[in-house]
Symmetry: C2
Subunit: 458 residues, 2 copies
């Protein structure tokens, strides 16, 4: 992952486009700012008055290009300052699934007003899409799918698709799905198959009857994972066996990207931001971060209690303090390495509860190798700090026990939480670090008591 | 991200299939074990003898289905135990891009032997693909792209595609790319467009001349990001303007998944595993983890030096020790939250060096809100531990300074490293934690010296 650094000079600003006030200026801007992110950022910077002037400059075509490319919060920001009828008109330029996604972003009142300004047929379709639960496959599908029946010939099918394409915009990458008259999904045919087949061939003979489909009520991530695992170009969405729509590969890319972002944010110990980082206000960042920070802070307070329990040891052998950050830091690092790797593997469907024994065996074996490597260095380090041989041995033994203990906790915790129905991605680096900090201190001082003569050890 | 737990009973084992020794058993197994991961795992568990017996049971069709679905290390494991000629025969069932990917996994000798067993034309194509740098768009593209010229009619184009499809397997989801006679890429047409157009229409009139393409030498992630940002169904790959191949959406899904996995692993403080987690041996896990663990351990040793510098303070006011894990823990958590969010935003192309001031302003403002929230609680906690008011004030002030200092360091470090050409994903949770541990201690004891009368403060 490396970014090149584009210069900002010479790239036209949307403000200048609005000031110029011509359709060509809009076209040029769309041509020169191709990326979704740059466009969203510039749209987001506009004042309400500028937004209204921009919208007046859009044709259905440029509206579609703009609103398909910028992110949903940016489109919602535009629609919120427009009269509902104008907003409804803009949505007419977009596909049903995209329109529904945007409508979900509006508050209830605004959404109803915009729907009221939309034609009856379209409004019914959109209400249908909005009725599926948020983040379900149904909420994400494109209902504008070309379906043909298995008994048609290729030329009949092409006629049917043409008729459908005249009414609505069909997704380009979509696989064509055949369904019998009661709209059950019975097979799939690609546009390529249609191009390659002779006109009189029956669809039934060229279709692939083994269709991988997803239920409309499933999470959208299940659909995405299906497409990824089976190298499909699209996943049909069904309910009670009947075909409802399709989720195509470019939607899957968006779903998987959003999932990876959410998991990354959770893993860093925050609640998911849900908006692009640069668009998040300090207050929003605070809100997304403070809950976990406080929970962890309260949990970490336990370390103070542990240390006070060992106050005598600490004042007798002050040198023990020198190794506190090193020991708990190493525990935290080991734990973070394990949980992040495991949680990613769980997200990809590679590790499940039934693998728990295999995981624990693997992690404890790895822990032995790691502990052996680090204990030696810790021992040498303790000696060079001039703290005496007993403290050095205490540190070396503690490293071994802490690494093994952490390996066990970090490998079991995500699987256990998942089993309890909790998203394992909440086992963030900060969380596992906090969990092993207190226990690490107990291990350290217990070892100290056993090893160091001054502390009453034999 | 939640996983359901499928039961293992009733799922056929590949070993049983091999024991049964029939083509139907293989078919049934492919049907009942649809997921890439389960299949790979079972293939990986086979002995050399079992692999050879399995290969004897494969038809070109089932070989394709099996090797397209299991992951590359699993296929490589199979090919390594086969005579080169048999391995070459198996590869013939696969697409060129998939074959090249697998060949890259073999060691040099084996690769040359397998290529020697492949027909001259195919071998030349594969050598061509292998000549592009690893992880480049060229190494990932499918050269089996149907190209037609802009001057053709739709019916000519369909004839050309049929002729091409008779020679090779065209990717279903691929967008058809038109190129002028010198093979320059001049536009793009979808299969759907061909289905919808009248036979006598000129390709030039239905093609979209604004093609987003990627240079073969670019990183594959650039191609993936282009497709994701522009909602394309495929990205053509060019070199010096000439069309070489295409990267389709299902490849992009794989590329982005691999990228997210790599970044997640780096963020957890490991080197990327490169194989699925359950397939990694403890020794491999050790190798991927120990380097960063040692680097961080050596860096963390610095905290011992800092604490020894403040040995007098520690023995005078032992209570100061109680808050060491809490303070450095909070610093580490704050830093981890910031770097993970930023690094994900950088991976998605949303944050760059030129945003540095905006990022720092945002993070410091957020830091002020967070510090204010936590300082109050820290102060109360210190009082309840009965350590006296001076230590309580020291802890509260230290929290504020540590959080602000961490906000600054954590927001600048990833951007700075990226500028220096280092992948910012190496700024893992463990790394930022280690960086702020030592400095956090210096802040803490400096504040203590200034506040606590016993330590000679005014």
């Amino acid at each position: 992952m490396r970014q090149n650094l584009p210069t900002r000079s010479n790239t036209p600003d949307l403000r200048d486009v609005i000031a110029a006030g011509t359709l060509t200026a809009v076209d040029r801007w769309l041509h020169e700012i191709p990326g979704s992110w740059r466009r969203s950022e510039q749209v987001d910077d506009l004042t309400d008055a500028e937004i209204r002037r921009l919208v007046a400059l859009l044709t259905p075509q440029t509206a579609r290009e703009l609103f398909d490319s910028i992110d949903t919060p940016a489109v919602v920001g535009v629609l919120e300052v427009l009269p509902p009828v104008v907003a409804a008109g803009l949505l007419d330029a977009l596909d049903d699934d995209r329109s529904a996604e945007i409508l979900r972003g509006l508050d209830d009142d605004h959404r109803q007003q915009v729907l009221a300004g939309t034609g009856a047929v379209r409004s019914a379709t959109l209400r249908g899409l909005l009725s599926w639960p948020q983040d379900s496959a149904g909420s994400r599908m494109n209902p504008d799918v070309a379906s043909v029946s298995a008994s048609m010939t290729v030329s009949d099918a092409i006629e049917a698709i043409r008729a459908r394409a005249a009414e609505t915009t069909l997704g380009e990458g979509d696989v064509l799905v055949t369904a019998s008259p009661d709209h059950r999904l019975v097979g799939v045919v690609s546009y390529l198959d249609l191009v390659l087949s002779q006109p009189h061939t029956l669809i039934a003979t060229i279709m692939d009857p083994e269709v991988v489909s997803v239920s409309a009520l499933e999470d959208q991530e299940v659909a995405a994972r299906l497409l990824a695992d089976h190298d499909l170009s699209a996943v049909p969405v069904v309910h009670d066996g009947a075909l409802l729509g399709i989720i195509s590969a470019d939607d899957v890319v968006d779903i998987l990207e959003a999932e990876a972002t959410e998991d990354a944010e959770r893993q860093g110990g925050s609640a998911p931001l849900e908006v692009p980082y640069l668009r998040a206000s300090p207050f929003l960042l605070w809100r997304k971060r403070i809950v976990w920070l406080l929970v962890l802070f309260l949990a970490e307070m336990y370390t103070g209690t542990v240390l006070r329990m060992f106050e005598d040891e600490l004042s007798t052998v002050v040198a023990l303090t020198f190794f506190i950050p090193l020991l708990i830091g190493t525990g935290g690092n080991t734990g973070t390495q394990i949980t992040t790797t495991m949680i990613r593997a769980m997200a990809m469907g590679q590790v499940e509860m039934r693998n728990i024994l295999r995981v624990v065996r693997k992690e404890v074996a790895t822990g032995v190798l790691i502990a052996a490597t680090i204990a030696g260095i810790a021992w040498v380090r303790a000696l060079t700090l001039g703290v005496g041989e007993e403290v050095a041995i205490t540190v070396a033994i503690s490293v071994v026990v802490i690494v093994l203990w952490t390996s066990l906790v970090a490998s079991v915790l995500p699987l256990l939480l998942n089993r309890l129905g909790v998203d394992p991605a909440v086992v963030s680096g900060p969380m596992i670090t906090t969990v092993v900090d207190g226990t690490g201190l107990i291990i350290y001082f217990t070892v100290a008591r056993l090893v160091i003569t001054q502390l009453g050890a034999g």
